[in-house]
């Protein structure tokens, strides 16, 4: 934790209310996000229990599974979820604008500009908490390899239509959420924690109700008191007034309310199955329906506070103006959405179970550069974030006190003016350290030369002054200018080109699918990892994992 966020937390403790960590909003909030509040069944990994989903805060769509251990009901739920989510995604797929992208020409191998479609906006999914993002990922994984009756007429247990497609989209969103600064799939707790510091631990900050209480306490309560109520208050029946944001449920809810209701439902179902004649069956069907409604009502009650909290969080975030470079990152999200839309439309197979070596390396490289870019952009967008970097010696505010013209010693001397600045900050400058400032949105770099006797640093400007002997107008600061310098770069360099997956070298096991890729794919080599994401092969849905010795322990 940085010094400034530690300070903000201590101030929050002292004052009893959350303190801002940002003056602008660093993530895109869509005009029409899809909010998804999922619940999962205790003790049954990946078994959804229910969900509230929708784009209208007053009209969430309630989806439930009356008996989560019944896989037919589970798939019916997933089918409904697909009907709720996919139309929303589809709305954004066809509103496109032309954009340029550089691609390798298949014949010459040279990079050429091509005009392609870019979706004008992208759909955004907001879940309450970080475990919610994990659950989205898990749902995606559990669905994307299923086959519908249409895809595979021989399937013993065909999935409802569109369920595999939803799995692919949720997988894509789950992967995208791992890219720093992306906004396609967001957790409300992450959003709030990025913009406010509370006086509680970061573990407690994962509780959406308590977090909101710190930031926007109801009535005249202090944030700290309100958070305590949100965490602990129970009604006379012993149920939490502010249920957990899920997907896990409160054990008291499971034991006291849910378990009896599911049991009643099971009994009603058995009774219906045992019914011998029409009138009796009708009566028992009514009882079954009533039992199912009871479960739906229970789940709606327990999810509704979370649903409202997510919208409350979005309201709070919308009050902050959007940071200047957020749109740039959102454009990358739009590219990501467009790219996956194209892969789906091209009939490519679902994402493989494991990334192959090249894809994994590419993802890691792009996320690292996204992380560097995010940190730089947030500091440039937001004086409060910059203050944190100044405090840690990675940036400094300065006033120019003197500019002396100088030239490089090459054959064609270029301008290398020496700029003396005065600063109250304590940057970690040393020999050869480079510093950067933003000049018309582009970084201009300089290098530290020496300290003057009064401690003022002297910097030598090294670029963005044009090709002429005299620097371009406005490219050299003047005496009295106030400038924020950073010791970190504003842009990230692109990484090296990695080999194609078919050319994976021997050090990394050779091309995927070939022998010698331990731990990946099926033993016969027809592994799911074949090809890069969906480039080759059509049968990515593969057989079960190979048996290992551990299976027989």
């Amino acid at each position: 934790m940085s010094l400034i966020s530690t300070l903000a937390r201590m101030e929050a403790v002292a004052s009893g209310s959350a303190q801002p960590l940002a003056t602008v909003r660093h993530r895109r909030i869509s005009d029409r996000p899809l909010v998804l509040v999922p619940l999962t069944t205790a003790g049954e990994a990946g078994a959804p229990l229910g969900a509230l989903v929708g784009t209208e805060r007053d009209a969430p769509r309630l989806l439930t599974v009356a008996q989560p251990r019944d896989r037919d009901l589970r798939f019916a739920f997933l089918g409904e979820l697909a009907e709720a989510v996919l139309p929303y995604l589809d709305e954004y797929a066809d509103a496109v604008e032309p954009a340029e992208r550089s691609e390798a020409d298949p014949e010459t191998g040279k990079r050429v500009k091509v005009t392609v479609e870019l979706c004008a906006d992208a759909p955004q999914i907001v879940v309450p908490s970080r475990p919610g993002i994990d659950f989205v990922r898990l749902l995606g994984r559990s669905m994307r390899f299923r086959r519908t009756a249409e895809e595979d007429p021989d399937a013993a247990y065909p999935a409802p239509p569109r369920v595999p497609l939803l799995g692919r989209w949720l997988t894509h969103y789950g992967e995208r959420a791992r890219v720093p600064g992306s906004s396609l799939l967001l957790a409300a707790t992450d959003l709030l924690n990025r913009h406010w510091a509370t006086g509680q631990s970061s573990l407690e900050d994962q509780h959406l109700g308590a977090l909101l209480a710190w930031i926007d306490p109801p009535g005249s309560l202090s944030g700290a008191d309100a958070a305590l109520h949100a965490e602990l208050d129970r009604d006379p029946a012993g149920q939490l007034v502010c249920p957990p944001a899920g997907p896990a449920t409160d054990p008291a809810f499971d034991n006291k309310l849910l378990a009896p209701a599911v049991e009643a439902y099971d009994r009603a179902r058995q009774a219906l199955a045992a019914a011998e004649d029409g009138p009796r069956a009708e009566e028992r069907l009514a009882r079954l329906t009533a039992a199912e409604h009871a479960i739906r009502a229970l789940l709606a009650d327990v999810m509704r506070p979370t649903w409202d909290s997510v919208w409350h969080a979005l309201d709070l975030l919308r009050e902050l103006p959007e940071g200047g470079r957020v749109a740039d990152r959102w454009t990358r999200d739009r590219w990501s959405f467009t790219g996956h839309r194209d892969r789906v439309r091209a009939g490519e197979p679902p994402q493989p179970r494991h990334d192959d070596a090249v894809t994994a390396a590419q993802k890691l490289a792009s996320r690292e550069s996204a992380q560097g870019q995010l940190e730089a952009q947030e500091a440039l967008d937001d004086p409060l974030v910059l203050a944190g970097r100044r405090l840690s010696g990675e940036a400094f505010l300065s006033e120019v006190t003197e500019v002396v013209m100088a030239y490089s010693e090459s054959r064609r001397p270029s301008p290398r003016p020496l700029v003396t600045v005065r600063t109250d900050d304590r940057p970690q400058l040393g020999e050869g350290v480079k510093v950067y400032r933003s000049l018309d949105g582009k970084p201009q770099s300089a290098e530290f030369v020496r300290y003057e006797e009064d401690g003022s640093p002297v910097l030598r400007l090294t670029d963005r002054m044009g090709r002429a002997k005299d620097p371009a107008p406005g490219s050299v600061p003047e005496k009295g200018d106030r400038i924020a310098w950073t010791l970190f770069e504003h842009d990230q360099r692109g990484g090296p080109k990695l080999p194609d997956p078919e050319d994976t070298p021997w050090t990394h096991g050779g091309p995927p699918g070939a022998d010698g890729t331990p731990g990946v794919g099926a033993p016969d080599g027809s592994g799911a990892a074949r090809g890069s994401y969906g480039r080759t092969g059509t049968d990515a849905a593969v057989g079960p994992d190979p048996m290992t010795e551990e299976d027989f322990l």
């Binding site: 994994a360 690292e368 080109k497």
Partner: protein, 482 residues
Amino acid sequence: MTAPATHGPDPAGRSADGPNAGPPSAGGRSSGSAGPDDTAAGFDPGAAAGRATDAILRDTLHGPHRGVVVDSPPGAGKSTLVVRAARELAAAGRPLMVVAQTNAQVDDLVVRLAEKDPELPVGRLHSNDPDPYDKVLDDLPNVRKSAKAADLTGLDIVISTAAKWAHVQGVEPWSHAIVDEAYQMRSDALLAVAGLFERALFVGDPGQLDPFSVVGADQWAGLSYDPSASAVSTLLAHNPDLPQHRLPVSWRLPASAAPLVSDAFYPYTPFRSGTAPGERTLAFGVPSDGSGPDRVLDEAAESGWGLLELPARRTPRTDPEAVRAVALVVRRLLDRGAAATSERSPGPRPVTADRIAVGTAHRDQAAAVRAALAELGVSGVAVDTANRLQGREFDVTVVLHPLSGRPDATAFHLETGRLCVLASRHRHACVVVCRAGVSELLDEHPSTEPVQLGVTIKFPDGWEANHAVLARLSEHRVSWQP
């Protein structure tokens, strides 16, 4: 052809477990002292190291495998091995590329190669940045420098960083490569360059800092090609049959330090010091004034280790008292006219500022120490983080303990390699400055990192290594209230 043993020859007759072998059977190792048939009198470090080197070169030049892995403990002559292997490969007419991790390492290798063989045509592939290489290289007549690999084709040896090699495309692959500091190279960096060579010699120190990523890479944990893992772990996961060797002798660490470092960080692959006790001494021209820094310096000169313990206290990272204590120790070391006697020269040589290093865990700590040294009028001392001190060597080091004054012990501060780097840079003595209470802190923070399926667990873990080092350091403790 005489088939070389899979593992390096083991002249000392100790357990020949490779680095991936499990713990040795009980009694296989006795706390760093001489093994069963390895009495001090019977151990010839020069011969042992020579046999290991010969076996490595035999496998590299004539072995059937595409790769050879060499584990090298701190200061075991890794660079010497690289230079020798490079020259022999060049002499055998095999075009060679050398991959190092930093520009400083590349320049250092080029200079060493030129020293050994000034006639050898060497190419230094460099970046397009200003000042891409050390100016010393301009004085070497047979070193050609270029930012384009095509300009350097035909030279016997071409050297560059992994980052630069990764951008090289469209050239004929080299028949051989040497990958230096391979344990500090990330798997994805190897992926980017592995297409450039047919066969390779991988050299590195498994005990130093693992490569890291600034973003989470858990989703790939357990995959054999986890891009955030070290290049060697990926290489061996896919090629488990490659011969693995290790260098058995540390020439840098003195006889006082090798047992501690070997026990704490290389318990299953022990190594020896190349010098015997008493061969290296440290003496002062000015007697102690009785202060804490002077007493700890005397202790370190006597025993090779010194622990300057400040009163227990929770502090910010840049603990002003501890930072000042570090600076004072350095100041007194210089003021008292320290002189080092070693096998390198007939008489004592003064320990000048450039022979001293200060090691910290964080960059802001290094910056604070630099400022404190400047205040005391000291310049020329290398002050840096463990990451940046890797691979460097000094006479005396002063270390700010990574856990000093901390309220918690995170995975970062517990990392085995961090402590290992800090405790293994010196030829004569190491002084550790630390707040009291680290032992209790460790006990309150057992390792809680999740166990990832498919990931080989590294032994010893940081918690264990930290305890082992502390236990040994406490024998050399000087308590001091600044």
